[in-house]
């Protein structure tokens, strides 16, 4: 880590804080705290599992011997509305999570491949928001004046804007030829920047007047150097915390848009769309809803818990 303070020091040393002979770097300290946080470990493991599931989806599905596209009509009960034959949504050795009503597609494949869409959109849109938010927020803090005012008001407008409605409208207007996942990443990412920008501006404002920034300025560093080399590294902690907290929101937003029919189009597997289809079947084939719904629930829960733990570990005010 360059320069002195990486994380703003606590206002006061909390009473009872151990007097360490050799102070650990704040990152180390955070890591040590995380390792001792059971919730953090469990959620990290879950996230790792989801990521492996998404990345290795083709392999996993091959292992099962299925794919997410082929219809298995023979496994459906045509006389009874074309739901899966057998109990628990048609679960079997060949179809681990059963099959989808009306199509006979493999549910395991749909859930595993669905993780790709959710995680891709969740993570990439967060990255888009961070990049925009970090640059805009730091610039506002560093330059201040009219730029700060303009950015502040723009952020207000964006926060007041009915983003979901705009996203739905955009999903309908944008030509089909434009890849939907990319559109989702851009749109969800773009609407997420004001939150980041505000937090980062606040943090950066407190840093701009610190000695190490003054020192750099005295030595003749330009705004680019100060923003990217002096301020940014010290903003990493809030950025990480805020990202972790906002990823689950974005996964939820992606699912919601797909649920409403303006997300990733068929046949690309998608949790939101499958959940939407499954709601009709709640009374007669609950498993259809449980697998994609459960996957979405676990993904959102894991990221939320990890976000909380990260905040506990990195935010000095909550340090135990």
């Amino acid at each position: 880590m360059p320069e002195s303070a990486t994380v703003p020091e606590p206002a006061k040393v909390p009473p009872g804080a151990e007097e360490a002979p050799a102070p650990l770097s704040p990152w180390r300290r955070a890591l040590r705290q995380l390792v001792h946080d059971r919730a953090a470990l469990v959620s990290t493991a879950l996230i790792a599992l989801l990521v492996i599931m998404a990345v290795a989806a083709p392999l996993l599905v091959k292992l099962e011997g299925q794919d997410p596209y082929t219809y298995h009509i023979g496994l459906l009960n045509q006389a009874n509305g074309s739901g899966p034959k057998g109990i628990l949504g048609g679960m079997s050795g060949a179809h681990w999570f059963g099959v989808e009503p009306l199509t006979g597609r493999d549910m395991f494949a749909l859930v595993v491949y669905g993780a790709q869409t959710s995680l891709l959109v969740g993570l990439a849109s967060t990255a888009v928001s961070i990049i925009i938010g970090a640059v805009v927020g730091t610039a506002a803090a560093f330059f201040g004046g009219w730029l700060d005012a303009v950015i502040g008001r723009t952020a207000d407008v964006f926060l007041a804007f009915p983003g979901m409605i705009f996203m739905i409208a955009l999903g309908i207007v944008v030509p089909q030829a434009f890849p939907r996942w990319l559109l989702l990443v851009i749109v969800i990412g773009f609407f997420g920047w004001p939150g980041f920008a505000r937090i980062i501006r606040g943090q950066a404002l407190s840093l701009v007047r610190r000695e190490f920034v003054d020192a750099a300025r005295t030595l003749g560093a330009g705004p680019g150097h100060i923003i990217f080399r002096e301020l940014m590294p010290n903003l990493m902690a809030p950025i990480i915390v805020f990202s972790a907290i906002s990823i689950p929101q974005r996964i939820g937003t992606e699912a919601a848009l797909s649920f409403l029919g303006v997300g990733v189009p068929a046949p690309t597997p998608d949790w939101g769309r499958t959940i939407s289809d499954a709601t009709d079947w709640v009374q007669t084939d609950l498993m259809y809803l449980l697998f994609p719904g459960g996957a979405l629930f676990l993904a959102v829960l894991a990221f939320t818990v990890l976000g909380d733990s990260l905040r506990d570990a990195l935010d000095p005010r909550t340090r135990r």
Binding site: Y69, T70, Y71, I73, L76, N77, Q78, A79, N80, G81, S82, G83, P101, L102, T103, G104, Q176, G261, P265, A266, P267, R273, D277, D280, W281, Q283, T284, D285
Partner: protein
């Protein structure tokens, strides 16, 4: 048809077999039937509908057995009591029509002593006026067969500016003579349509509000009506049972609930509690997801009536767009489609429908079972690939447009998408809102590759299944030749068959046309969609025959 396009019922042309949205149809008796206990006289019936409003007779697209005929009688009506094909029988008229001039002129005489609900005597002039008002642009949405057949109808704009249509000739108080612009054998069926129900001119100052204070000729009058909410029908004391079709007008009162969610309707009918015991629907078909619930409940199961057949669901290819303009490519798609996957996506063989291979649906005069492809129900991938190869087409990408409000539209469109993926054709599904979807498919510009449609003939003649969809004068202008199919030889055959007044000869002609059209493979017949309707335990006379796939609302009654 001649130069003018026939206007057809848009709601009948239900995308993706959402036949549930079709204008509620009235009675049919026969093969599919439960609640077969004899319907009694008296009591209150409840009809639960998803449609939001009741129609003016001029704007209605309903079949001859529909709710609108509880209020309005036409010159003829449908007799569905046989269970097979409905017969056309006289209603206000003394017979089903006397043709002359080779089927170009049709004469009707009204029964004596008929009265409107306001006590006024029904005269031939009232039927003439009713038909004239259907030409007004404000009332243009109704079934329009008569508008293109009556001589001079192309230039006539309705009676509200004081003009009359001379091709409807009134002789005395009780005789009507229709002068058509061409011979037309099916005119007795046309005379059963809602626009042929009399409207007294003095009671109709404004075409937009007549629906709220309709003067009726049928067994009931509308006492309360609120759009999106309900309509209450009570007995018309001037209706004379002796002049009416047998079995009609049983209940004393009928309450129609409007704008209900289809699932709510069926949940209520499954529960069968309170007044819902006296309720039924002819608009909300039981969904695939709800079927296990119905089947798991023996009493509910016995109260579900499934039509033996119904509207033809078919995949439309844009015959003018490259490379779908090549016969081999269209043939390849005919071989590639997995009809069974579509059937399953529609709910399966029991409530979804039967695999279709013809353009004319069963129950229509002229239906003859044949299969031009002889492919397995799940398609012949090898043959499709070979045809595509010999057409020199590879890596084909097609866009399928769909009405996002259609029932089960996701599963149905994906069944087509997956079928074509197997032969290397990538299909992009584009969901559109209902209005822009219908505009896109009926404006004649052909801005699509594929779409899925469902079509039910407006009367039990093969004419209604073929001519609106495949005659070249039905392209664009809101008409439904959405394959943009145009073959002069077929047009000639259609024209000849339409003039045929001998029913048997007409049927043979339509069968031959069906086969001739499929040689050009303009569409892929998918399934004959079924309707599965529920009724309460105290509803009687609720049966559905081969055609139409709806119960006859005129003869449904209470079981006491």
């Amino acid at each position: 048809m001649t130069s003018e396009p026939i206007q057809l019922n848009r709601r009948r042309f239900v995308a993706l077999g959402a036949a549930a949205l079709a204008a509620p149809a009235l009675a049919a008796c026969g093969s599919g039937g439960s609640g077969s206990a004899k319907a009694q006289k008296g009591g209150t019936l409840y009809i639960l509908l998803n449609s939001p409003e009741l129609d003016d007779p001029a704007t209605s697209q309903s079949l001859g057995i529909s709710i609108i005929h509880l209020l309005h009688r036409s010159l003829t009506t449908w007799d569905t009591s046989g269970g097979g094909q409905p017969k056309v029988i006289p209603d206000l008229a003394t017979d089903t029509g006397t043709p002359s001039d080779g089927g170009k002129t049709w004469t009707y005489k009204l029964k004596p002593g008929l009265k409107f609900s306001n006590g006024q005597v029904i005269k031939a002039a009232d039927v003439k006026y009713a038909l004239e008002r259907s030409f007004d642009p404000a009332l243009s949405q109704g079934l329009g067969y008569h508008k293109t057949l009556l001589a001079g109808g192309d230039k006539y704009k309705g009676p509200y500016q004081g003009k009359q249509l001379d091709s409807i000739e009134v002789q005395g108080d009780d005789t009507l003579v229709f002068h058509l612009n061409r011979p037309y054998g099916d005119w007795p069926w046309i005379a059963s349509m809602p626009a042929f129900a009399p409207v007294p001119k003095a009671s109709d100052p404004n075409p937009h509000t007549y629906v709220n204070h309709q003067v009726t000729s049928g067994p009931y009058v509308l006492t309360q009506y609120q759009k999106n909410k309900q309509g209450v029908l009570i007995r018309n004391k001037h209706w004379d049972k002796k002049t009416a079709a047998p079995g009609t007008g049983k209940a004393d009162k009928i309450v129609i609930s409007l704008n209900l969610n289809p699932d709510v309707i069926n949940q209520r009918l499954i529960s069968d509690s309170g007044n819902d015991q006296y309720a039924y629907t002819n608009g909300a078909s039981v969904s695939a997801a709800l079927l296990p619930k119905v089947n798991g409940n023996p009493t509910a199961k016995s109260r579900m009536v499934v039509s033996p057949s119904g509207a033809l669901a078919y995949l439309v290819m844009n015959n003018r767009k490259k490379p779908l303009d090549q016969l081999k490519v269209r043939q390849a798609i005919n071989y590639a489609i997995d009809k069974q996957a579509y059937q399953v996506a529609s709910g399966g063989s029991v409530i979804g429908g039967n695999i279709a291979t013809t353009l004319i649906e069963p129950g229509l005069n002229g239906y003859q079972k044949y299969d031009p492809w002889n492919a397995p129900v799940n398609g012949d991938v090898a043959k499709a690939k070979a045809l595509l190869k010999s057409a020199g087409v590879s890596g084909l990408k097609l866009t399928l447009i769909a009405d996002s409000s259609g029932s089960g539209v996701e599963a149905k469109t994906q069944a087509i998408q997956e079928s074509l993926r197997r032969v290397g054709i990538t299909v992009t599904i584009k969901m559109m809102d209902e209005n822009s979807y219908y505009d896109t498919i009926t404006n004649g510009k052909g801005d699509y590759d594929l779409h899925i449609s469902s079509w039910l003939a407006d009367f039990p003649s093969a004419l209604g299944a073929i001519q609106p969809l495949f005659a070249s004068d039905q392209i664009g202008n809101g008409n439904f030749n959405t394959a943009l199919y145009s073959n002069p030889a077929v047009d000639k055959l259609i024209n000849a068959a339409m003039g045929e007044t001998d029913a048997a000869k007409a049927a043979a002609a339509w069968t031959a046309i069906d086969k001739r059209i499929q040689q050009d493979a303009p569409v892929v017949p998918l399934i004959y969609s079924k309707n599965a309707y529920m009724h309460g335990s105290k509803v009687a006379g609720f049966t559905i025959g081969q055609f139409p796939p709806y119960p006859n609302t005129l003869t449904v009654g209470t079981a006491g």
